[in-house]
Every structure is written in structure tokens, then in C-alpha cells.
Symmetry: C3
């Protein structure tokens, strides 16, 4: 279905990396102008719709929080020198910090400072969305250099009634059945966690838009703040979520590690089989994780028991497993164009399976049909003719009994999905099979 | 539920060992005064009821045999010296030996002598309940020293109409559903096989009696002769065995080996899952055995196809796997207070699961509830906060969909049962879950 | 059921080898006099019926082809010397070659020559049944020696309306339920592939004929050309194939390799369990292959989705895994009497299970029956009496609950099938069990 030698695919890594460079500096949070700016940049590539949900709106057990914006923040040392500056890294400010401008003794200040002693030159990423606080995150090396005295603290932020902002983009396919592609736009300057998924979703949206006349499924792209955004979207769209037949959470797709697939809650949905088949066929080392309702991203909401949607997540190195996770080291060096490009291809292969998997009926189920007279088989039968396509003809015929889809057959035969699909196409053309 | 730091639990090993020292010297069999004396000693700890079933009573395919008692037995050598003496070890006499007082040539005598050539200093334990015989068991070293000549044989036993004796003790819980705790009181002086299970059952009865107002299940303790006792009890109680929801056979629980769990016939009863979960959580090396209708104790009767009760057996080293088995070497040195105490804790952990496993319903099944506002979750969400309790909150919520009990959830999450139970309690208190 | 110490069994390898020596020189194909000659030889041992199906008959998607016969063929080099001669090996001629008598330049001739460069002294076996061609197969060494010049080519063959010939032999058992024993008689001089299966089928037919009054199943032996023969037979017998309860394809049973069992399409038919049990009990290294609709013999037809018959295949080294496969090296040296004899025994053990597997009902399902009083058990119960027969008594009783057959019980207990069968017989005799 997709031409992997096409320039768009071949250049996808560079394109996504370039988009990531634009998104990286923005200070995002679960609300505020950072999200709006991000969506505005994405909308140059994909005509997404931006939605604003007012502060105070009830969404299931939650309430849309106040909107947070920030323009500046710093700590000045006793000599008046800025030693921690929001302008250097937006991770320096505890997310959702309330405004403050005051002097503190070092001992008092320290109650508001957060570091990672085990990674002394990394700034940690921390937030306090639902309890009003202020704080600064800094490297442990910076922290160790602090001397006694009085420090001037300044956070020019606002926490006011406003709205939660998210982006949504839908490509209508031949059916109302949907594939959900969900990523999150609430993390400030970190690349692999969050932004890599955002640029990958954008690139998928761009490519699928080109194919929109041929798509079987309707594709729904969500660019939302994590957790509260997924809860908000589910709350607003409760009546239509039954249309979601397959879904993926996009994050941690830009590093150089091997792939990891985290299964949906049920664990045996078609998206799980398709993702695992792609990994198996790659021949590369990979990991399969069972669904986990604690360690995870928005699948925790999509797979909550009241929804139990078939949503998995294809990643490279998973979120808690890289030391750069949730620190300033998850930067433009940690993610590569090659890493992004490889992930793009992996996702296309999954979508290819979703789009093409069908169950067929063998119209000549009693004994093998004579393939030779239809030009489908080399009649010099005794040669050791084990080409994959020929194998696939026999597998497709034998198991197209109405109970096995092409994906099932490709898994059982260890043949690549595309080969089985080609065989099914040839057999349909020859009048030997039809779609169930 | 149980306080493992409580003195009763901590001192249990010593207490059981001391009780075992009292029981060890008694010459027990499947009937007779040895059983009565044993039950009398136990009744000082547990107010069990002693039952007597008359000789000749039909119990399924069997008949209660004659009662056997013995007061003395010996072999005198040609010089009149007692070379084998029942007073030294009650294993010296073949169980159920008929009375005899007569002189025999060595060659004749040898037909009645039993030894273990492979373990030349062990006296074997042998019986002939259902074919009238007499005989002596001795060490192979003793046997090798026998010289030609005439030997005087004396067995002062009786085999008369009487009864089969067993003990029963019931602790009534909140429901009529029962947990069966079965051990056997028919073995003479052997510690691990038989007596270790008897003292453990007694200690469990003692502790559960203290908790009787809180127990969900009714606990039924059986102190019976092996095989014929189980058959007798089942025959007398056929109408009520459907109440038995879980059961365990207690034996071989006093040695120093790792634990072995033998599954019930069905293999996937809750008792099987609970026992295996306790073993997995221990982190210690252990063995799981499939049900075996040949090698076993009274589960052979409880799990006969006409009953098929959910009865397993948690042991340390299993019966045929220690060389001391069914010999005089299964003595007070082979069993230790520490071994008994560890087994006691293991059983308490299983009972803890049985008592507390319930299926809950998540009352807020659509998306995660906001745990932070209920004080259940540290709102600094980005810290690597992976404490077990927090994990358990999310697992309990996600899988409390009516199909998964706490035990199921603890198995799937690899979290300890108690942690999942605590999380469920906290969630119920917060109004987020209820028992199904 | 079968006496493995019987002379017929012990001498079976030699007998089959001797029959193979007679069959080896004949030039067989999917039609023609070679098949008739083969069946005539077999009919001296087994009174099989020979059937002729006319050219042009429609059989499902196929048509019976013209009949092919050949009397001579050679290539003469420029000096007039016969350098390739059908009389030396019938593999030299491409199967179904049309007649030709003409001179060719070497370059032209080469388009009709086939070799195996990787096995330079082997003649390959090739055919062109459904596209009219002529050709010669020769060793790559022969091919390399060919010098420029004009070659005389002669193939004295005929391709005319005639018939497809096959043999069928049925032994009527007590029931109409059938066991299908299918082998193929279409290969020219190759021993392991094809002929080994033919002689094994013949020997099984001979032995089962002797036992015919005791057989539970009806045994149907097919001696057919591969593929087109199976299709033909299925087409002619479509209404009765439902009688086939178990089936085996016999081929590759004469080499010295370990056993390989290829499962039926469903994979869990009784024939699959029986074959695997025989392999497990042997203690020998073996392989189990899943059903494969591409690499295979006539199970590809019997297991086509419109039939899905319970047909597997017990082989030694499987067809594509030995380098002699489909070459002149698959000769009388590659196959041994010992290899054939061992396969014969393996098949008898499978048939033994099929014939004797029944589900029994324990008539005393509540607790164990008292085996001692029925002479079935040594009452000296405490001896470590672990003989297999005694074990089997307990396993048979416990699992004869109407849901487990003797085969199921023997698999679950790891006891040999015959031991479990003997136990069941003894228990029936004692009135403790009956056939369901």
C-alpha cells in the first residue's frame, strides 16, 4: 500500500527532525499558550482543528484546571547574579508554579528546589498541576554550588480561568470504523518523550491525507495534553468511542533503541497481533510488554475498564527505561532523524496490515485448485521451488476457510503479511478466492 | 489479617515442636488406643470431638476393620537375649500384626523379617492392615548379625471388634462455605510424615479459634487415619461435602527443605492459585506438582472423581523424596521448630488470601479517578514514584471490572496480595470501589 | 494387540526391503504401465483392487491427464556414443516427456538438460505433467563433459488417451469408521520418497488382514499417484470421506534418521495425540511439525479446507531435509531393512492406540475402591511399590470420569498406553470400570 522507496518516506526522518527543532524550545504545559503555539506550527503541515475547553468544565471525575502561562523566572544569588534562568531552559520551573517574587534565605529556598543527585548535570522535569506550589528544578551540580545568603526568587506566571487546548484531525475513510492515533503536546523542552510522538503523528497524518481516497478506516489524530486531555476527549466523545477499532499511543519513537510494543488491555486485539507481526517480521530484537495500568501514557485512560479500547503503544526505548527520561538530557541530540524515520516506517507497516487485513473464502475448497493452468505455479513441480509467493498461495488457499484472516495466516505461516496479501490478490484475480 | 510479628506466630515453631515431642512415642495405627491417646493430647489445645465408628461399618467400597492394639513385642535370640524390642521402637512391629508367641528356626523367622538393605541402619515402617500377618521390621545391620538357631517370637497384640477413631473440630465462620484442613493420625513414631501435619493443623486451629469472630469461612479440621479415615469421613458426610470450597492436606511440613505444592485434581482451583501465589511471592525456590492419584495422601480420596474436591497439599520435601520417609530416621532430629514455624506462616498466608480474596467493582470505570484530590496519590506526578502501594491502586482500579478478583489482580500485576488488598481497602474507603 | 516378538514383525524389515528391491527398477509416473506393474507386484502380497479412471475425467478443478508410457530414451554424442541412457536410470528422462527423435546443437540441447550443480554426481528427478515438454536429467559432472557438436536425441514415449491407475484395499472392521492409510506409487526409481511408504503400507495391510476379525476400525489402503491420485480418489468418494476418523500418509520411512511427525491441519486430532504419544514413549529424539499446506504430500488434499480430514504423516527424515531427496541418490543404499522395520513397529504402535483407545467409566467413583481385596494391589501398602501397573490402576480409576480416554490418561500420567490399557482391562474384569 505504501511505497517505501518513495521520497516522502525516505525523507521522513529529516522532515520530522526539522519539525521537532521548531517545537523543542516552546514551554508547553497541560494548558496555556505553549500548547496553542505548538498546534499552530503543526497546522502548517496538517489542517487540524484547535479546541478550547473552559476552566471548570467537569470531565468524568476531573475538572478542567486553571490555565497556566509563564513569561519569565529566575533565581538571583546573594550577589545579584542570575544563577537559574527560565530563559536557559523551561525545565527550570516546576510546571504550574504560582507567581512569586520575594527574597529567601538559602535554607528556605531549598524547600523549593528539586534536583537529581544520581544525574548531577541533568535538570529534572517536574510539575504540580493540582496542588498550588512554586519551585525550581536545577542540576545537582548547580545545587551543590549554592552558598549561604539571601536569594531573590522571581516567577512571572499566571494561573487564571482560561481553557484546556487540544488539536484534532480526522481523515475520513470508506467506513466509520476508526483508527485512533494519539500523542501528547504537554511536555516542555523534551524530545523523545512527547515531541517525537507529535512529529510522527503529524507525518502520518500528512501521508495518510495523500492516500485518503483509498483508506478503509477513518483516522482520528489527537494532539492532547496527557491524562487530562485524554480524559477530556473521552468525556466529550463518549458516544462515539465504540467506532475506535484500533489505536496507538505515539511517544518515545525517536531514540536509537530497538522497538518495544506495549499491548492493549485485552492483549489479543488485532492491533496487538499486527504490531507484533511487524516486529517479528523485522527480524530485529524487540520487546513485548503486557498492558500495565500504572506505568504508561494515555492508554491508561483509553484502556480504563469503562472503555477498554483496543489501544496499544509502539515505542523504541520505553519511558522509564532511558536515563534521559524526564530530564534536560532528553534533547535534540538524544533523538535522531534516523530513529524517527525508522519509527515512521514501522507505523506504516502496522497501518498497512490494518488497512489490508481481510478474511477470504476459498471458492475451490475441495483439494488444491490447479494453479499451473492459471499461470500461478511453475509446473516443473519437482524443483525445490520454495519462493515465498508460492508458499503463500497454498497457505492462503488452505486457511481461507472463513475463520482465518490474512493476518492470522501470515502469523501461522511465518510469511510476511504483504506476501500473503499478494497471493490473496492473485487468487482473487484467478477467481479462486473472494473476500468474505 | 494475621500479625506475623505476634508472639503466637513467632513462637509457633517451638510450640509445635514441643507438641510433636509428646506425640512421637505413641504407637498409632489406623485404629486403636494410640489414636485415642493422640487425640486426647491434642484436645488439650483444641476442643476437638472424638468419633468412634464401629468395626464392620460399610464405608463405600470398604469396611471398618477390626481394632488393633498392642502392648509388647520382641524377638529373643537362641541365647534368650531380646534382640528386637517393640519398647525400643514401635516401628519394629509390622503394623496390624496378629498375636504370636512361638519359637522359630532362623530360616522360618526370616520370612517375617523386613529390612532396607539400601539404608542398613534404618528400621522400615510397614503395615498389613487388610491381610492378617505378623512380622518384624529391623535394621539391615541387625538382620546381618542374626546367627542360626531357634528364636522366640512374641507379639502381644489384639485384633478385635472395636472401632475406628478420629477427631473433628469445626470453627464456624460467617458463611457455611468451608475450608477443609485434613491431617492423619495413624502413623507411629515418625515425625515429618504425619505428625508434622498434625501439630500444624492443631496450631492453625488454635490461632483461627482466636480469630473466629472475623472468619469468612467455616474451618473444618480432620484428624483421621489416612485413606480409611478419609473414606469413612466422606461416607458419613457425603451430603455436606459440597460446602468445601478449598482444602489442604497437611503433611511433611517439618523438615528443612523448600516448599512443594501439589495441585488439586482440577489444578486451577482458587486454592491452587493462592498456594502458588504465596510461593511465588516468597521468592524462594519451590516446586509445583500436578495432581497425581497414585503418589499422595488423602487428596486421593477427596479428589476421587465422585467428589473432585478442590483440595491440594502444601508440603516441604514431599513424601517419597526424602530417604528418611517411612523409616525410623524420620525422627525428632529430622524435623525442626524452624521448619514447622515456617510452614505455619506459609499456611497463614494462604488462609489470608482465601479469607480476603473478593471481586470488586470500580465505581468510576471511565478513565482514572483523580486520586490526588483524595489524598491517595502524590501530585508531583513526574517523580519516579513507583512504590508498590501506588502501583496497586492503579491495578486494582483497572482490573476491578467484575471479572478479576484481588488474587487475579495480584497474580497479573506481580504485586503481593496484601498490597493489592490494602489498595482495595483504601479505594473502597474513598468511595471509588465496592465489593461486587 | 500386536506381538512385537512375533516373527512377522521381527522379519518385517527384510520383507519390505526385498519388496522394495522388486519395485525399485520400475519406471513409474502418475499414469501408465509402471503403476500397473507396481500394483501387480503388490497384489501378490495384498489382494488390492486396481482401478482405471479414463483420461479426460473431471476431478474437482482438475482433469485426468493423458496416459504416459515410455520404452526407451537416450542422447548420443557427436561421435554416436550413448552418453545419457534411460536404461541406466529412469530418472534420466524428464517425467511425461513427449516423444522426440532429432539432432540438436549443444546450445539447443542444453535448454532441455537439467542438473544439480550443488550435487554434481546426482541425477535430479523432474517432471512436467501439465505442460508438454521433453528433457533429460543428468549429473552435473556429465553435463560439464559435454563438448560442442551435434547430438542425437531420442525419446520413445507416448502421451495418449488412456487412464489413471490406482490400487485400493479395504479391510472391514467391526465398525464403518475408517483409518486411511495412503501412499503414492508415482515415483520412478527412488526408494525413501514414495517406495518406502508403499512397502510399509503393504506390510501393514498384510498384518492387519491377519487380525481382521478383531479390528475395531475399517482400514482403507490407497496406492495412488501423488496429488492427482488423491484428488481423483476424493472426487470419486466424496460422500464417504466422513467415515475417515484417522489417517496417515506413508512416505520417507526407510532411512536411518529419527522420526518426524507432521500434524494434521487441526493439529489436535486423536491421530496427532496418538502419534506424539508413541514418539514420547519411545524416549528417542524426534521432531513434531505443524501442518503445512505447501511442503507436503497428499495431506495437502485430504486436509484441504473442504475436507479437513484428520490425516497426519509419520516419517523419518522429512522430504526436503535429506540431500538425496528427488535424486538418484535416494537408492537402495539409502534405505535399510532396519529403518523400514523400525517404522513398521512405530505404525503398529499408533494403530494399537487407535484400536484400543476408549473412554471408560469408573463404577466406584467415590473414593478409591479397595483393590487389595480384589487381588489387584499388594496390601503391604508402605513398601515403595511404584510399578507402572499399579500406578496405572489409580490413574485409570481417577480419570475415568467420562471425559478422559485411555490415551488422555496415558498422556497425563506419562504412563505407556499399553500399561494403562492393561490396568483398564483388569479394572473392568474386577467390575470396577466399564466402557462408556
Amino acid at each position: 500500500m505504501f511505497d517505501f522507496s518513495d521520497d516522502f518516506v525516505k525523507e521522513s526522518g529529516k522532515g520530522m527532525y526539522s519539525l521537532m527543532e521548531q517545537l523543542y524550545p516552546i514551554c508547553r504545559s497541560i494548558t496555556g499558550n505553549g500548547v496553542r503555539e505548538t498546534l499552530k506550527i503543526l497546522s502548517k503541515t496538517v489542517p487540524l482543528e484547535t479546541k478550547e475547553i473552559p476552566t471548570g468544565t467537569a470531565v468524568f471525575d476531573w475538572t478542567i484546571p486553571k490555565e497556566w502561562n509563564i513569561s519569565d523566572a529566575y533565581i538571583k544569588d546573594p550577589k545579584g547574579k542570575k544563577i537559574v534562568d527560565f530563559k536557559n531552559s523551561n525545565l527550570h520551573v516546576l510546571g504550574y508554579s504560582i507567581p512569586v517574587h520575594k527574597k529567601f534565605k538559602l535554607s528556605e529556598l531549598k524547600k523549593h528546589l528539586f534536583t537529581l543527585p544520581d544525574y548531577p548535570d541533568s535538570i529534572p522535569y517536574l510539575t504540580s498541576y493540582y496542588r498550588e506550589k512554586w519551585g525550581f528544578c536545577l542540576t545537582h551540580n548547580q545545587f551543590d554550588r549554592l552558598e549561604d545568603g539571601e536569594y531573590e526568587v522571581h516567577i512571572d506566571s499566571s494561573l487564571t480561568d482560561g481553557s484546556l487546548t487540544f488539536g484534532e484531525y480526522v481523515i475520513k475513510g470508506k467506513t466509520d470504523d476508526e483508527v485512533l492515533i494519539s500523542c501528547y503536546v504537554c511536555h516542555p523542552s523534551m524530545c523523545n518523550d512527547s515531541i517525537s510522538g507529535v512529529v510522527l503523528a503529524t507525518w502520518l497524518a500528512k501521508l495518510l491525507t495523500k492516500h485518503k481516497n483509498k483508506l478503509h478506516y477513518t483516522y482520528r489524530f489527537l494532539f492532547i495534553p496527557e491524562t487530562i486531555g485524554a480524559i477530556t476527549w473521552l468525556s466529550l466523545n463518549e458516544k462515539n468511542v465504540h467506532r475506535i477499532k484500533h489505536g496507538l499511543i505515539l511517544t518515545c519513537v525517536g531514540d536509537s533503541g530497538g522497538f518495544t510494543y506495549k499491548k492493549s488491555r485485552a492483549g489479543n486485539n488485532m492491533i496487538d497481533l499486527a504490531a507484533q507481526k511487524v516486529l517479528t517480521d523485522s527480524g530485529d530484537k524487540h520487546r513485548i510488554l503486557e498492558f500495565d495500568p500504572f506505568v504508561g501514557s494515555d492508554e491508561r485512560q483509553y484502556c480504563s475498564p469503562g472503555f477498554n479500547l483496543p489501544v496499544g503503544s509502539m515505542m523504541r526505548t520505553t519511558y522509564p527505561d532511558f536515563s534521559e527520561y524526564h530530564t534536560s538530557k532528553d534533547d535534540l541530540d538524544f533523538v535522531t532523524a534516523k530513529g524517527l524515520g525508522g519509527s515512521f516506517e514501522q507505523y506504516l507497516m502496522i497501518i498497512n496490515i490494518l488497512e489490508n487485513d481481510r478474511t477470504y473464502i476459498n471458492l475451490n475448497p475441495k483439494c488444491e485448485p490447479q494453479l499451473g493452468k492459471r499461470g500461478l505455479y511453475d509446473v516443473m513441480g519437482s524443483q525445490k521451488n520454495h519462493e515465498e509467493f508460492h508458499k503463500a498461495l497454498f497457505w492462503a488457499l488452505n486457511f481461507s476457510d472463513g475463520s482465518h484472516s490474512l493476518l492470522d495466516i501470515s502469523i501461522r505461516s511465518s510469511l510476511k503479511f504483504d506476501v500473503v496479501k499478494s497471493a490473496a490478490d492473485a487468487l482473487c484475480k484467478a477467481g479462486l478466492m473472494r473476500i468474505k
